[in-house]
């Protein structure tokens, strides 16, 4: 669907030297993708995701959506904003509507939907994120932190995007609320068939949910592979200041200490299976 070729970006500050934030990035988001985007702070993640819906324009390179160049003259970026929904960090701080429903309708209305269409879309999105009807006419300020975040996500969902980009959707939440948000993201993906790009520091989540991982380092896309293949490169990631899931670290170190594991595990289940096999083998032999 969305494809970028040789994207580079630098802020041109008057007087100061140009500093390249993104260097020659090529990427593709396909239908059904769940991509985890990881990188240390300052790697250019936020700048990069702002390119995905045209908030920033690449200094060089092209981005095409369904084959159409978004930088071409006459291409309406508002169309792209409809297709690629972007949920920023702490999105609950960005709510402004007098009621939950009105806030959720803001996006669809901007896209030119009629009031009826916008309301219908808003309601179905609120339902999907699990906000009860009794809250529709309440002020967003009255909701709990977790609910507010759900409403903010619904506000983007109501624009019916085909790709949803979420920047640290679980930042600052307690484990239970975090789990709820991830459950929600997975539901969004399956029920609406929306491709997901998840920016996260939390490697456990990336390993658990993503089917593909992008590793951004110093403005370049260093890896684009399955979670298992990416997290197997423990040392390389460590050099880039990126951690791996705790369980991966543990199994990796076991391997280094001489245990013949096939590869580093990315989930507890996988680790348990591999270790059980190995620890039993000796006893059974």
């Amino acid at each position: 669907m969305l494809k970028g070729e040789n994207i580079s970006f630098s802020y041109n500050q008057a007087g100061a030297e140009e500093k390249a934030v993104l260097k020659n990035i090529s990427f593709e988001i396909r239908e059904g993708d769940f991509i985890g985007l990881i990188g240390s702070s300052g790697s250019g993640k936020t700048t990069f995701v702002k390119h995905l819906n045209g908030l920033l324009k690449a200094t060089s390179g092209t981005i095409t959506y369904n084959g159409q160049n978004i930088y071409e003259k006459g291409y309406k970026l508002s169309n792209l904003r409809k297709e690629v929904g972007l949920v920023f960090q702490y999105p609950e701080h960005q709510l402004f509507g007098s009621t939950v429903l009105k806030d959720t309708m803001y996006g669809p209305r901007n896209l030119g939907m009629t009031d009826e269409e916008a309301e219908e879309s808003a309601k179905s999105s609120l339902k999907l994120v699990g906000v009860d009807e009794s809250y529709y006419y309440a002020s967003p300020m009255e909701l709990s932190g977790g609910q507010k975040r759900c409403v903010a996500i619904a506000g983007v969902l109501a624009m019916k995007p085909k790709i949803l980009v979420l920047d640290e959707p679980a930042a600052g939440l307690d484990p239970e609320t975090k789990f709820m948000i991830f459950d929600l993201i997975r539901r969004i993906q399956t029920e609406r068939n929306i491709a997901i790009v998840l920016v996260s520091h939390h490697m456990e989540d990336v390993a658990q949910f993503a089917n593909r991982v992008w590793v951004l380092h110093d403005g370049t896309l260093k890896m684009d592979d399955t979670p298992a293949n990416v997290f197997a490169k423990v040392d390389q990631l460590d050099e880039m200041g990126i951690g791996v899931p705790q369980i991966t670290q543990l199994t990796y170190e076991l391997m280094k200490s001489g245990m013949p594991l096939p590869h580093a595990a990315i989930s507890v289940d996988e680790a348990a299976k591999m270790l059980t096999h190995l620890l039993r083998k000796g006893a059974n032999a």
Binding site: S41, G146, D174, P175, L254, A272, L275, L279, R280, G282
Partner: protein
């Protein structure tokens, strides 16, 4: 150091019909925090842990019960500033607690309020900034610091009060993993090397493995208390407090289920690793012996 005796705290909430209602946030909390301990308080949002923290610095007063700080009742208005200088606070949002427009000015804010002599302020600011590793950045604007550096500055601000205890209210909630490690390492050093009592409020289980004591809170109650060993081997309790179960604990469980004799309550990754290696070498030895 701190003794909390059966405190209750209520917030007033206004309903739609303009009727007053009371919400109990802390419901009979009793806790002893001895000097130089590292105490961690875990619990989901809304469990009352932040409210509890504010009682330790007299930012709030209990509706019922008493809080004693070094033998002084926090309700004693005349001793307010004595207590505040015993207990320093570090808050969640790194930006919202920095007042100065440069790093050193910010640390000086507390001592200036105490009307301390200028030369003493300068020595104190220097020592605080050196302890948190920000002395090189003393002239910089706080806006240019990273998240981890901002929280270290917040800690230096607290240290400038020369406290015996520092209460940290979710200091890592808004930080990335690298910055979190940076802050936790600092807390650890202050506790182990300087004997400063630390009360760390968090919802990351991986930050509290070397705490002396962990307190689990839920809905205004303390639902569990013990050493990390005791807490992390009690999965029902962790689940009740809606906390993450550390992966090594989960792995240990799964291995035991499969009949592999991994000991319970393994506290660190390092220990887990050596246990598995030991078991592996044992089975390997056995395997070879039977061949």
């Amino acid at each position: 150091m701190i003794k909390i005796d059966n405190i209750v705290h209520k917030y007033t909430v206004w309903d739609d019909e303009n009727t007053k209602n009371e919400k109990v946030v802390l419901d009979g909390i009793s806790l002893d925090i001895p000097s130089s301990t590292f105490m961690a308080i875990l619990g989901p949002n809304g469990s009352g842990k932040s409210t509890l923290a504010k009682h330790l610095n007299v930012l709030l007063l209990p509706d019922e019960g008493t809080v004693w700080i070094d033998g002084i009742n926090t309700a004693d208005v005349d001793k307010l500033w004595d207590i505040r200088s015993q207990v320093g606070m570090v808050f969640q949002n790194p930006d919202n607690q920095i007042i100065g427009t440069s790093v050193e000015e910010d640390v000086a804010f507390g001592p200036e309020n105490k009307n301390m002599e200028s030369s003493k302020i300068r020595t104190l600011v220097e020592s605080c900034l050196k302890r948190v590793g920000l002395w090189q950045k003393r002239k910089e604007s706080p806006t240019r610091l990273s998240g981890g550096q901002k929280q270290r500055l917040g800690t230096a601000d607290a240290l400038a009060g020369v406290p015996k205890c520092i209460v940290m209210d979710e200091p890592t909630a808004m930080l990335d993993p690298e910055a979190r490690k940076e802050v936790i390492r600092l807390i650890h050093d202050l506790n182990k090397n300087e004997g400063i009592t630390i009360v760390l409020i968090t919802h990351h289980t991986d930050e509290v493995a070397d705490a002396d004591q962990i307190v689990l809170m839920k809905e205004g109650h303390i639902i569990g208390k013990g050493t990390p060993m005791e807490i992390f081997s009690n999965k029902e309790l962790l689940r009740a407090a809606k906390m993450d179960i550390p992966p090594r604990v989960e792995l240990g469980d799964k291995l035991r289920e499969a009949g592999i004799p991994v000991p319970e309550s393994i506290l660190t990754e390092e220990k887990m690793k050596s246990e598995i290696l030991r078991l592996y070498n044992e089975t390997k030895g056995k395997g070879e012996a039977t061949c």
